[in-house]
């Protein structure tokens, strides 16, 4: 059951420092939304507020509203830990747990959340998740080998398998291909195409071609100036952004005049 996200007037702080200002947007369910923009514009920071990973950093907090299917994410009664089970995340650098095998890595989210699984259910879940991440055929004969032994691209797909094993509704990806070679990147992009059948996907990327290839909608973030907070400049269907953007700054960024 994929879900949509509504953000209104979101300000993001690190302590007293206002990092991102006044973001409002709607992210559609079962589609891919890409965030683009120059480094330091706050696109990753914003992404991390969507599953409350942001507040892991001491002093970080937000003002404003994030609604997921009509429910406020930042309501005082909402447990951030539960939020993160519902909204999964894949990081810039592949980060499988070094003490665990491939099998254990896939099950980590479930096992660490105290869910008891029969051996058979566990096997099924591992196979299903690895299939879902397009990794099953490559690793099915060495499930008990350490996850760190895989190549970078395989590790990243393992991390995606690990994220979808807890059956989230939304998947956030923070530059998932920036540490990978072109072949692995293409494998991940194919995977994103498949995953959007089931999940709402938000992807941050520094690669505009990638945004154009994988996303339905694109949001362009930029800094208001040096030392000023980042803000959302424009959000539109990807086709429109890359052909006739509303804003001049978007046009300038996409045509490579800055950033």
């Amino acid at each position: 059951m994929a879900k949509s996200i509504d953000v209104s007037d979101l300000n993001i702080y690190y302590g007293d420092f206002l990092a991102v200002e006044g973001v409002s947007m709607t992210i559609k369910a079962r589609s891919v939304t890409a965030f683009i923009g120059p480094s330091g514009c706050g696109k990753s920071t914003f992404l991390r507020t969507l599953n409350r990973m942001h507040e892991v950093i001491p002093g970080a907090h937000v003002e404003g509203k994030v609604m997921v299917d009509g429910q406020s994410l930042y309501d005082p009664s909402v447990d951030p830990v539960e939020v993160r089970r519902m909204i999964g995340m894949v990081f810039q650098r592949p980060n499988p747990f070094p003490t665990m095998s491939i099998y254990e890595n896939v099950l980590a989210g479930v096992r660490l959340n105290n869910k008891k699984l029969s051996k058979r259910d566990a096997d099924d879940l591992v196979e299903k998740s690895l299939q879902g991440a397009n990794l099953w055929n490559e690793v099915k004969d060495r499930l008990n080998k350490p996850g760190m032994g895989l190549s970078g691209g395989q590790q990243q797909r393992l991390c995606i398998a690990r994220a979808i094993a807890v059956e989230p509704q939304i998947l956030l990806m923070d530059e998932p291909c920036s540490a990978l070679d072109p072949i692995s990147t293409s494998a991940i992009e194919d995977l994103i195409h498949q995953l959007k059948e089931q999940y709402t996907i938000v992807i941050v990327t520094h690669n505009m071609q990638q945004a154009a290839r994988v996303s339905e909608d694109t949001a362009f973030f930029n800094l208001a100036g040096a030392g000023k907070p980042g803000r959302l400049i424009e959000m539109n269907p990807t086709k429109k952004i890359f052909s006739v953007p509303d804003e001049e700054a978007t046009e300038a960024y996409i045509s490579g005049r800055f950033g």
């Binding site: 892991v56 993160r84 519902m86 980060n95 747990f97 980590a108 989210g109 660490l112 350490p146 032994g149």
Partner: protein, 354 residues
């Protein structure tokens, strides 16, 4: 301050006269020969000959370099030699100590030495079984106290405390604590149990408390370093799966750092297992085996070594030799712990290969 010379104008000028590469070897050989000759003719022992040879070498090479090269090069050679001499001087005691302990201690090691106690042993060699038992029990008690406290404190410092005022004070005072004299730790345990249990209390667990005061700071510092080495990526990956912070620490962070933590704890054990002063005060000494940490005086290997050497009784030769034997056993235990620490570090390290 040495004035650097004016810069040469051509490479030809930059080619200064240098001593041959094997000049130090020549100087060394000559100095050694001269020293030996002088020493033999004056009837000195080996130590005297070596000292004179080193002095001759230092002076001779300096003069030679000063004549052929220049004053700066001579100073440079002099300081290089002095640094190697310092290194040699630092190593002599270790070599001498190990040689002495092995040659004096090895003849003592036999089945009887390791399995007998000193109970009712008079005028003949006994054994150190009771002392080994005591040392193991007391050290075990210290470890049982220190590891949870040290581990949890380190977790507090890395995962919760951050740069808070309390965390900074703990970090600073833990550093200061590493410098507490061991005898003070013994007096602390003595004073504590004199008040809590009764005046003059001496028992094994008191030694455990005293040693843990010395051990905790070591465990905290090494564990803290290891936890800091765990990449933040892994914590974030775990949080993003909806795992609570405490479970992330217990199930992801600690296992990742486990190799280093085990190494650190083993080294901490090695550090305190040879402590004598606190046990002398709070554990006392006895000739029999005592398996009860909570009642009665308890012997330990270091205290056995000390008291056998200083109070050898009517037949001093026997007990003093046993002290050397005990010292060899103690050193073997300490070295074994150091070795285990390194091996454990390898075994428990996260596996990355296929």
């Amino acid at each position: 301050m040495t004035s650097l010379q004016t810069a040469p104008d051509t490479i030809a000028q930059a080619r200064v006269r240098r001593l041959p590469r094997f000049a130090p070897a020549i100087a060394g050989a000559v100095a050694l020969a001269a020293g030996t000759l002088l020493g033999i003719s004056l009837g000195w022992n080996v130590a005297g000959i070596v000292v004179v040879a080193v002095l001759l070498y230092l002076v001779g090479l300096n003069i030679w370099s000063r004549l052929v090269e220049n004053a700066r090069a001579a100073t440079d050679r002099m300081m290089t030699s002095l640094i190697w001499v310092a290194l040699g001087l630092a190593f002599i005691p270790l070599v001498s100590l190990l040689y002495k302990v092995i040659t004096k201690g090895a003849p003592q090691l036999n089945g009887r030495f390791l399995t007998w106690t000193m109970r009712n042993v008079i005028g003949e060699p006994g054994g150190i079984y009771h002392a080994i038992i005591g040392t193991l029990l007391i050290t075990l008690a210290a470890t049982v106290i220190s590891v949870p406290v040290g581990l949890l404190s380190a977790i507090y410092l890395v995962e919760y405390g951050g740069e808070s005022r309390m965390a900074r004070w703990i970090r600073f005072l833990v550093d200061v604590m590493t410098g507490i004299p061991s005898i003070v730790a013994g007096l602390f345990a003595y004073a504590l149990f004199a008040i809590v249990v009764g005046p003059g209390t001496q028992f094994g667990i008191g030694g455990g408390v005293a040693l843990s005061l010395l051990m905790i700071p070591i465990v905290v510092r090494s564990t803290e370093e290891m936890l800091k080495l765990v990449p933040n990526d892994l914590r974030e990956a775990s949080y993003a799966l909806g795992v609570p912070k405490w479970k992330t620490i217990v199930r992801v962070v600690l296992p990742t750092a486990m190799a280093g933590i085990i190494t650190g704890v083993t080294l901490a054990i090695a550090r305190v297992i040879g402590e004598t002063a606190p046990l002398l005060i709070i554990c006392g000494n006895t000739d029999s085996s005592n398996f009860n940490l909570f009642g009665g005086q308890m012997a330990s290997l270091p205290v056995f070594i000390y008291s056998s050497y200083t109070q050898p009784g009517r037949n001093p030769e026997i007990l003093q030799n046993m002290a050397w034997g005990g010292a060899l056993v103690l050193i073997i235990i300490v070295m074994a712990l150091n070795l285990i620490a390194r091996i454990a570090g390898r075994i428990f390290a996260p596996k990355t290969g296929h």
